[in-house]
């Protein structure tokens, strides 16, 4: 009898899952978000695969210690402090041009070199080629491989901190709503306290006395996010559930407090919690990128670090000339955070019937 009930239950769950997924599919932006998230998920999984199957050589393609030199044939020219424009160059910045090298830069290492000679030159950062899809950075490391490593970091951090944060806030929020009184007052004041601390300076302080690894940061972000504002939101949702008739009838039929809390209130708060989780992934990814951009994380490679390196070497101020150093990492952060946000919007349409089409 029990097993029949169970399988019936399961098929019911499957049915409702299918119906919800169909609802989700109706919102275009949700599907777009899912595609973006899946794309970055694929990137994150692809890199270990490429290394394990030896399609990529670790010495060349490793995101942190890999090195690949690109050689070009360069003509030696001399750039003098003369009045520009000259017949060859318009401004002083154009000399040496592409596939040219200033004699002052190479003379010390190549005795006897003269103007007009052709020598082999290493270029770093190298522009995109068939070997390096997105080129190499200023240290000769493959940018595409770095992008993949960065997406692993973003996924681990974003999901871990979101799960920790939402777990904490759902538990505390429902407890605050259900028990009320002193417990509620304590929890609310606690979240006030957390909200009062300014986030970025606080993370500066923490990174000053603790070496932050990725998962440390995920825990810190999760705990602060979970104790802060989301407790208040989830509590207000749980308050609405608490006054519903089925909670009263459960109490009248003799359900214990824990039983009501776990099997009646929590499941009804769960959709909102899931929604909150998806949105907080967005925030976690942004925080991680900002912290590693500012150089406060003890981390080998991430999207924020890629931009930090590009900025420190001055490539961002050169604009699109070195676009493969500037654009991919920034776009990746924006797209993945936006992708999770879009998924959240799609889920919102599923869970909130008032948002569906007229």
């Amino acid at each position: 009898m029990d097993t029949v009930n169970n399988s019936e239950n399961n098929s019911l769950k499957y049915e409702s899952l299918k119906r919800n997924f169909n609802l989700f599919k109706q919102s275009k932006i949700g599907v777009l978000g899912l595609v973006i998230v899946a794309f970055f998920g694929l990137l994150a999984l692809l890199q270990p695969f490429l290394f394990l199957t030896n399609i990529w050589d670790e010495a060349t393609y490793h995101p942190v210690v890999g090195y690949d030199s690109q050689k070009i044939q360069a003509t030696v020219v001399s750039c003098k402090d003369i009045d520009y424009p000259t017949p060859e160059y318009k401004t002083p910045n154009d000399c040496p041009g592409p596939e040219e090298v200033n004699i002052v830069a190479v003379a010390p290492y190549n005795p006897g070199i003269q103007e007009g000679d052709v020598i082999e030159q290493f270029i770093q950062p190298a522009p995109p080629s068939s070997k390096h899809i997105l080129g190499t950075d200023s240290l000769g490391r493959d940018v595409f491989s770095q992008l993949m490593e960065g997406s692993q970091v973003a996924f681990v951090l974003g999901l871990l901190s979101a799960i920790v944060g939402v777990g904490i806030s759902t538990l505390l929020g429902t407890i605050a709503a259900y028990f009320g009184g002193a417990i509620d007052a304590y929890l609310m004041r606690q979240s006030d306290l957390v909200l009062m601390l300014p986030t970025l300076p606080l993370l500066f302080i923490i990174s000053a006395f603790a070496e932050l690894q990725v998962w440390h940061l995920a825990l810190v972000l999760g705990i602060f996010g979970g104790l802060g504002g989301s407790v208040i939101t989830i509590k207000s949702q749980a308050l609405q559930v608490k006054v519903k008739p089925f909670v009263d009838s459960a109490r009248i039929t003799g359900g214990s407090r824990m039983k009501i809390l776990i099997s009646h209130i929590l499941p009804n708060v769960a959709p909102l919690a899931l929604l909150y989780m998806v949105f907080s992934v967005t925030g976690a990814i942004a925080s991680e990128s900002i912290l590693s951009f500012l150089g406060l994380l003890n981390i080998d490679m991430s999207w924020g670090l890629m931009i930090s390196v590009a900025q420190a070497d001055g490539y961002i101020n050169q604009g699109m000339e070195y676009w493969w150093l500037v654009l991919p990492a920034g776009l990746a952060v924006t797209l993945l955070a936006g992708g999770f946000y879009l998924v959240g919007r799609g889920l919102d349409d599923v869970f909130n019937p008032r948002l569906r089409k007229r």
Binding site: G180, M196, A208, G338, Y341
Partner: protein
């Protein structure tokens, strides 16, 4: 009700007390102190460091320092800055705060209006192709990697096009022989902005009752330009005509930060308005309005948008609380000498009095906002009122 407010107020004071202690302990946990670079200076005698430390009382045990700090804090003495010695923490904040508030209130007002406008239209055009695309664009402008975006804006408008200055608050070369202090000019600008906004707000209130939407909009727009015209005379009177040049220089420097932050900030309001507006459009009274045969525009602007405004305004109030916190990155990238830079600098250089003063300033700001929100909710919703008392 009174009991609830008093109870809540007592809790608030306790929370603030805890907040002070926790912040002080956090700052104390940072290794080293503000004067350690004295040890590195070979031309100073070795006792210089110990004497400086003793002068500032940093050699005393933590419990004594903490106790002294909190007692002095409630006496209103927030101490001298360690780094910029003769200035007190309060002086530093008074100097920096107007710059941050000015920049971000302009941004917030702009972002609020554009965001609400865009969100309103998005919800109205639900399901159309343009709606999908604008929504996706605003989501990405909401989640854009902010420092990267700001640096690209600096590169494009500042370096490539050369239209706007690259960061900073003013151009020093223009101010060498200036008869005015930059803060005086800046306060004058704030005064002007406040007068302008109040006048425009009064006009908005006066035109509220006009039935025809087109006429109302035209009157508001016309009076806006009239105010701009009058302000031309305002800046020509007396001392202000000499200040005009310098005020222009400061205004020129605000363009890029305002533009950048607005692009990022408006999307949040737009997306929130879209959601609340969609919920409102499901309500029965909208159906009634349709059945009455009102024009689409009137239903959108007068019936739906009015109701949808409420949660948006609430979240807007909470955004104001996070201004100083959020200004850290913007001010660092645009070298805007405001509160954000002050906090960052004082935290990184362990200037504990200044850092504590700015932290407690933010804390008081947030606490009061939460208190007001709670009390107003309790007034509005009797269910919450009863439950909070337990």
């Amino acid at each position: 009700m009174l009991r609830y407010i008093v109870n809540r107020f007592i809790q608030m004071v306790v929370v603030f007390f805890l907040f002070l202690i926790i912040s002080y302990l956090l700052f104390d946990a940072i290794p080293g102190n503000a004067f350690q670079n004295l040890l590195l200076n070979p031309s100073l005698p070795p006792y210089a460091y110990e004497e400086t430390i003793a002068l500032y009382g940093l050699d005393q045990p933590l419990s004594v320092r903490l106790q002294k700090y909190i007692v002095n804090f409630f006496k209103g003495d927030l101490g001298y800055s360690y780094i910029q010695f003769p200035k007190t923490a309060i002086e530093l904040i008074a100097e920096r705060l107007p710059r941050t508030l000015m920049l971000f209130s302009v941004v917030n007002i702009l972002a609020f209006y554009t965001g609400f406008f865009v969100g309103k239209i998005l919800a109205w055009r639900r399901g159309s192709k343009s709606e999908t695309w604008i929504t996706i664009t605003s989501v990405f402008s909401y989640t854009v990697f902010y420092p990267w975006f700001a640096l690209l804006m600096l590169w494009f408008f500042g370096l490539r096009m050369g239209w706007v200055p690259i960061g900073k608050f003013l151009t020093p070369s223009k101010w060498y022989d200036s008869p005015f202090d930059s803060d005086v000019v800046f306060l004058e600008m704030i005064k002007y902005m406040v007068i302008f906004s109040v006048l425009y707000f009064v006009i908005t209130l006066l035109t509220k009752e006009i039935e025809s939407l087109n006429l109302r909009r035209n009157i508001r727009l016309g009076s806006f330009f009239a105010l701009l015209f009058i302000s031309n005379f305002y800046w020509n009177t007396g001392q202000l005509s000499e200040m005009r040049f310098y005020a222009g220089d400061i205004a020129y420097h605000t363009i890029l930060p305002v533009l950048t932050v607005t692009i990022v900030a408006f999307a949040g309001t737009a997306l929130l308005t879209r959601t609340t507006m969609m919920e409102v459009l499901k309500d029965d009274y909208i159906l009634t309005a349709r059945a009455k045969g009102l024009s689409q525009k009137r239903i959108r602007d007068r019936h739906a948008a009015r109701t949808a405004l409420l949660p948006v305004v609430t979240s807007f109030i909470f955004t104001i609380v996070t201004i100083i916190d959020g200004s850290v990155l913007t001010e660092t990238i645009f070298s805007w000498p405001g509160m954000g830079q002050l906090i960052l600098e004082s935290v990184l250089r362990e200037d504990i009095p200044v850092a504590m003063a700015s932290f407690s300033f933010i804390g008081v700001f947030a606490l009061i906002a939460h208190f007001l929100a709670d009390v107003s909710y309790a007034f509005l919703d009797p269910r919450i009122r009863i439950k909070s008392q337990g």
